[in-house]
């Protein structure tokens, strides 16, 4: 059973959004459900710090042994940090999707956009959890 924490926001594309101490910056990763569906992650291709993405734009790709998937930017924003650990240990995405397996930190262009994301209950309903 996939873990869907109650203190995060979600997208229909299986990204989660975690708030940080800085109200303008969020952490983005993929959900426990998504990593389970992908299987053993072998590579994560992430953007560079400073790159800007529109909402729903592809900001990276994630590769498992037999599947590859695009990563979609949940809301418009600018990348302020990327998880360099994933280079050497991409399996962090499998082991700690909500912890050390995070992908990018994003400075949100319009904080109000966060309101359009899915609440945990809505995401759970989507995946049938």
């Amino acid at each position: 059973m996939a873990t869907i924490p109650d203190d995060l926001l979600y997208t229909p594309d299986h990204e989660y959004i975690k708030k940080t101490d800085d109200p303008a910056v969020v952490v983005v990763g993929i959900t426990d459900y998504a990593q389970g569906e992908l299987g053993d992650v072998v590579f994560v291709n992430l953007p560079k710090v400073g790159q800007k993405f529109a909402a729903h734009a592809v900001f990276g790709t994630i590769e498992a042994v037999k599947a590859v998937s695009d990563l979609y930017c949940p809301v418009a924003g600018e990348v302020t940090e990327v998880n360099a650990q994933l280079d050497a240990t991409p399996d962090l995405v499998n082991r700690e999707p909500y912890g050390d397996g995070w992908m990018v930190k994003l400075k949100v262009t319009t904080p109000g956009d966060l309101n359009s994301l899915l609440a945990p209950s809505a995401y759970k309903a989507q995946i049938g959890a």
């Binding site: 299987g39 053993d40 072998v42 590579f43 590769e63 498992a64 042994v65 037999k66 590859v68 399996d91």
Partner: protein
Amino acid sequence: MPKTSTPAAPDAPVAARPSAAAAATRLFEDDRFDSRHLGPRPADIAAMLKVLGFSSLDDLVDAIVPADIRLKRPLALPAALTERQALDEMRTLADQNQVFRSYLGLGYSDTITPPVILRNIFENPGWYTAYTPYQAEIAQGRLEALLNFQTVVSDLTGLEVANASLLDEGTAAAEAMHLTEAVTSAPGPHKYFIDQKCHPQTIAVVKTRAEARGLETIEGSAAEFQFTPGVIGALIQYPATDGEVQDWRGFCERAHSAGALVTAATDLLSLVLLEPPGAWGADIAVGNSQRFGVPLGFGGPHAAFFATRDQFKRVLPGRIIGVSKDRAGRPALRMALQTREQHIRREKATSNVCTAQVLLAVIAGMYAVWHGPEGLTRIARRVHHLAGVLAESLRRIGLTIVYENFFDTVLVETDAKTQSRILQAAAERMINLRVISPTRVSVALDETTTPDDVRDLAQVFAGRNTLPFDPMACAAVLPQAIPVGLARKSAFLTHPVFHRHRSETEMLRYLKLLEDRDLSLTSAMIPLGSCTMKLNATSEMIPVTWAELGRIHPFAPKEQTRGYQQLFERLERALAEITGFAAVSLQPNAGSQGEFAGLLVIRGYHAARGQGHRNICLIPQSAHGTNPASAVMAGYQVVVVKTDPKGNIDVEDLRAKAKEHAANLAALMVTYPSTHGVFESSIAEICRIVHENGGQVYMDGANMNAQVGLCRPGDIGADVCHLNLHKTFCIPHGGGGPGMGPIGVASHLAPFLPSHPLVDLGHAQAAGAVSAAPWGSASILPISMMYIMMMGPDGLTEATRVAILNANYIAKRLEGHYGLLYSGNRGLIAHECIIDTRPFKASAGVEVEDIAKRLIDFGFHPPTVSFPVPGTLMVEPTESESKEELDRYCDAMIAIRQEMREIEEGKAVKGNNLLSNSPHTLADVISDAWDRPYSRERAGFPSAATRMHKVWPTVGRIDQAYGDRNLVCTCPPVSAYES
């Protein structure tokens, strides 16, 4: 207990009391080949039909193939020949080819296939009938051979990662351009530079690919070329096509400072002596490994190679063999980074290549194993030395040698009159020289060249039969032809595998050791859906290694290749009749290339009618991943058409999308019978809808084995179709290639078929060349020709009928044990069936992979896994498998079902059972540490047949993720195998 098969009845019913005369006549009847090609005997066919509830094969076929598309007459092909007659016929054709000494070069050199390799690999069904190594546990032999090949390529080119071969040098260079495009960060529009001293056929293929994608190419002289913004990369040849060895360091520096990548098309033997491209700045190296022991074969098949820097490994085209480990921690090889490939990435793939040239890569790798670095160095030095001797002799005669620096190719400048005299003298001695211009001739020497050959050549150039000096005496005073700065300094092939097999006994045993690790058609059925692993008959294979077919240079003059020309004509005519088309091009080297070529033909046709804007390609959801990848390569935009729950194209969705895109509709790509193994009854309507909206229909011929003699793509409404000769027409899979993917087209498309820069193929409005050689892999075409000649029209049709029977028989026998995913009328299927194994995940914790691997314990090669539907197995037995073998396979499947029932009923442990731990190696089952909750006997000998014989997997279930996270694609140090 499963029923066992009844003993086979005699081949033909014996008449009660034949007249003496009739009996005597029969004594002189030769053995018919069709009854050898087919698996089931007549009595078996009757029994199988009974199981299916039909009284005749005709009734069965009538119930399966829609009536409105049936061919209502026999194929108009010559009557069947016996094996002996067909071999005689092929010998007559081959004898019309003339084997000249070839010094044409252009990336193709005569070579000596070491006899131990010739007999034990090239002519050995244990190697050539194997499938692509998707089931790594029973493919460790050829995976190791391919790892050797990658190591050779990586060492000689000086680049970190190499793949396990591509189709030819031209397409490899084109793939390098695609890689360059994929990784560039430069804003468009992009341009690509091609040095004019690349091989002309390579330039042509690269340009075809570039034009299709709308990428501008600039052909010119590298020395003068200025990198301007937008130029993303460059292709150069090292040594150049005219033989010159140049220093490219400055060029690479200029390219890199402009953000462009450099691809070097190169030659492996020259790199034994020359500084490798990776050392002087090239980012990618490509080329043809043919001269490592693979016959010229009038153009192929040969293994092209591709190597690049580690940073580009995720966009490397083709299959890469990588090292990982199995569950017990043993080193284990398998195909790595598969997410790069078209079957996963579909329209986002950077390459559509699928089948490559495994058998030929294995041969080239083994050539290096056999000779080792010292042997290769001796060969390279000899070739280079003789080239130096020739150059010096010609200087003494008074001729001008254009370049001081060369490896094996000497460029001679004369006046036009002298040149024509030289060419005439050469022809008289059965020697082919390359004419580069009216005043320039080049001579490319090779491994087979002897001092006597050099004397002959000197006499040809001198224009007399005696020389005032012995050319070999020039040896003492040769000038340095490889500049000091370009001489190789690094060691290569240091791994023990390249040092250990110098005696023939050791080599023979090494080849046998690897062969025995693999499952090929020599030990069991390989029931891969969509791959048609039928018999590759011995008599079909025999001509392939005849010198009259093998020792012909692809650009030998037409008058020397009359036998080949007749063969092509006959084969084209036969394939046109079988497909119902007007014309055939034999150029594409694999299905993927056929798709690309066919889509280009369609583009050319639209453009010629002022409809060049048509760029939408409709592709059903269920299509093979190569289809969308090819469409994108050909410059189309892919629009996906839905598939209905039964696996058929959703006709209403197709109609809607065809109408929506009517103004820009270019083509539909459709597989028939469908990828789900069903003869869709709406196919004629589907073709009509596409035509009414201005599009052309491209038929993927992967499933042609269900059509031959029963219906024809051309009659159904297709405009183009490719044929996988390595499926339907008996070319062996070679463990992952060679293949051949010729295309047939309707008459309105014939002018747009591929052309070639060096040979006039007569296609007036061609879109260019798609392969390096004009007729693709010419030397394996006799295999398909032999098959067609020996089967004749009736035999070919019978093969289709029996293929359909065999598939339906399997489906019927598994009924009640497994669910069948898709079927047509009356629950019948075409030539393959999809077994639904998804329910077992919930009921027994068993994945499709577990069932596939457990089949290995039963001595079988698993069917296609998770294509076209995840979690399913697709089974295609082909007509060549006997009822006995089909029963053995079905019994295994039923026994596995029983094993799953034990898990379902709690008698076996979820997650620690016969399936989850499969495949079981010999080392596992005889280990003193056996601690499994089931017996060793059930693990290793699950059926009576396996006690007689089976191929044991040499490694257990492989950890795929480990190998992909830690990519190693050259031979690992020996210490890795110590445990």
